[in-house]
């Protein structure tokens, strides 16, 4: 069996990304959408970390090195921030409309 390479990690990341996208696209619950977002970000993080790894590639000097991990850290922090805001919005929405159904949030339609 061949050793695990970046591609395998990227596959995992792709799957997580796609799941997250589908989750965002299909869930009617706002929190479900939020979860989708988290999945997307994580998928991206997996990619970044994989690319920065020294183990997974035959030529580590060609990789991102530590930059990938930096980026992954930042992504985590920003995901936290964004999750907080999104939650705040959702709670506000829930308080005002007594529902978390995103299909009901169409007052901004043109």
């Amino acid at each position: 069996m061949e050793p695990v390479g970046i591609s395998h990690f990227m596959t995992v990341g792709a799957i997580m990304f796609v799941c997250g996208v589908v989750c965002m696209a299909t869930k009617r619950n706002a929190l479900g959408v939020l979860m989708g977002i988290e999945l997307v970000l994580n998928g991206a993080n997996v990619n970044f970390v994989a690319l920065s790894s020294d183990f997974l590639t035959t030529n580590p000097a060609r990789g991102l090195g530590l930059d990938g991990q930096f980026i992954a850290l930042f992504v985590i922090v920003l995901a936290a921030a964004e999750a907080a805001v999104a939650l705040a919005i959702t709670l506000n929405f829930y308080n005002n409309h007594s529902t978390v159904d995103v299909d009901r949030a169409d007052e901004l339609k043109g």
């Binding site: 996208v21 696209a25 959408v33 995103v102 299909d103 949030a105 007052e107 339609k109 043109g110």
Partner: protein, 812 residues
Amino acid sequence: MELSALLPILLGIAWLLPLASFTLIVLFGPRMGKHGVGASYLATSAIAIGALCSWFSLFCWFGHYGFKPAEHGAGSQFAAADHAEALTPALSQGEKETATDHESYPRAYTNDLYTLGQFGSLKITISYYIDALTVGMFAMVTLIATCIHFYAIGYMHDELHDVTDHEVTLSDGHHLHRPGRFHRFFQYLSLFCFSMLGLVYAGNIAMVFVFWELVGICSYFLIGFYIERKSASNAANKAFIVNRVGDFGMIIGLMALWGGLGTFAFGDVTDADGKVERGIFSQVRDPANGYALAAPDGMVRSAAFDAVEEIAFEHPGRLMPGAAASEINSRIPSWRADHYGYWLLVIAGVGIFCGCVGKSAQFPLHVWLPDAMEGPTPVSALVHSATMVAAGVYLVGRFLPVFAPEVLLVIAYTGCITLFIAATIAITATDIKRVLAYSTVSQLGYMMLALGVGGWVAGLFHLITHAFFKSLLFMCSGSVIHATHTNEMTKMGGLRKKMPVTAYTMLVGCLAIIGAGIPFLIGFSGYYSKDAIVAQALSFSLANPLHGAVFFYAAVGGAAMTAFYMFRLWYMTFAGPPRDHHIYDHAHESPKIMYRPLIVLAVFAALVGCTVPDWFPALGGLGVQNLLEQARPAGELGEGVLMAGLAYPEEHASHAHSIHVQATVYAFSTALGGFLLATVFYGLRWLNPADVKQQFFPVYNFLLNKWYFDELYDFLFVKPAHFVAFLITFVDRRLIDGFIDNLARWARKLAHFDDLIDRYFVDGLVNLTAAWTYSLGSSLRSLQTGRLRQYVMLIVIGLVALSVLINFASAR
């Protein structure tokens, strides 16, 4: 104070007092007294004082110069003297009154009072020219004016309250009701007196012209006093316009005089530096030349302009003005001998005479005077019988030295034709004032005839006597009109019982006009003056058989007709049975203020022609004729140049016994004949004038319609003027206005078209763009569904598409 200073002052006062009266009445008229009656007192006192001044100056004149001229005959001097010169000779003349030294006998005073402006060599001044004629005219005018002022106070009393004018119908059918204008009448009378006296006083022809026009304007105001009456306002317009036609000729004459003589002044004036500026008279009749008529240098030079150009061209230094002057001047006498410049002199004379034709209502400009009777009777008496119409005759008399014999012939013919036409029309007229108006025209013709045949004294003598008896006649007729409220003689009759004073004063006037009297002994004023005219005409016909015959028979025939129509008038008005009982019953004598002036004038009309016989102590020789003799212009009238064979005899030749007797016989017999005819028809009524009318119906009609002059002028002048006006109106309204209107119409159409383009095309484009934008926006709105999941979907789709693109782009 010597006469040369006193006379201008006295006559100046008499001249300017009416102006002061006019100004005061203009400013304060309505407030003077009750209903403005004070205005009449002011005007009358002004003119009365003027009369006193004039008569006083007449006495001064007589006192200085005596009653008779120094020498009655040839060579009577005519010298213009200035202010300074008059001093010594005047004093010395007091002693040498009867001396025959005529060389330095100043009988005219002339000087400039004030220079209005000097434009190069043209000097416009206010100046005076006082000689015996002036003094006489002043005395006559002021006396008659005073009488008429008194008369008018009574005649115009209607104007002291509101007046209902029955001759004016307003558009709603009522008669006009207006406030009275008493003060305004006297305002105009004062202005008229000022103008007339100014005309007589004037020392230069430009000033004469100014006052000429002023008199015309006053006449316009006075004729149109009842301005609301269409007939009155038309008559005023007619008078002024016809006068203007004459003035056109007068201006041409003025231009010729100015061009040829370079001055307007009558007499020589010495200015402060001692330089003598020669006036018109001495330039045309040079004293050094024996006062013979000769074309003045200026006129000769103008006429010989081609020769002058030649000389100027050939002369070295020809570009300098005046370089060739000496040579030209030396050639002037030879040119004059070739009769250069004579035509200019003739034209100047004819031009001035044209003004007189207009003013004195001679043929063909006589049409205004009968219509001028629309004015109140005092106006007719003062303006249109005694003074204004006499101004023309006066000017001819004043200007006689300048008139060439050819011009005098023209004057004579004009007068002759006028007197004949007017007399014939007067025979058939029924309006009492019209008869008198035509009589005035006829008598003016007489005066012009007299002046034209060389009877200077005769013509002016008739002027003065005519003034008295004609104003008397008018005032009497005014009295009759006042009593009967009608002008038509066909409604009068037998009035002498009701109005004796008027009747008998009018009788005196009629006798005066026809020249009644006891032949060779004594007569009314008209007798003497008409006699003189006929005598002069006879004398002229002896020298010029052809022309003279016409003039003589015209004069004599005119006398006959005058007698006829005047007594026709008197009989129809005062004698016989009353034709309208209503009017007869209401007729009454005029108030004292009206008939007293009549009496005064009657006395004058009777006596003013007489000359006190020489044997009478102290007053021997006092008379109008002698007064006028003192002012006779010097020099012979001469012989015709362009018309050879025209010879003017001296006037004193008419006093020759043979001629005088013949003239008297003719004049008296014709007057008697006319009188008898009138008595037969109208006095005794043995014959019926209606039969005559029937028999001579065409002639009668022709005369009744005033020889169709008005119709002729209407056809010749009024209709073409209307036609030209119509053409011009047509051009203006159809072509010009039409053009403009069409321009406007096309501009409107263009604007409409532009509007369409603007609205549908331009706005349409803009609106279309906006609509598209809107619809695009609307359609894009549908993208904003507001559904979160759809947005996510779209994001993802976009992402996928982008990635695919990038992949394939980079893979290539």
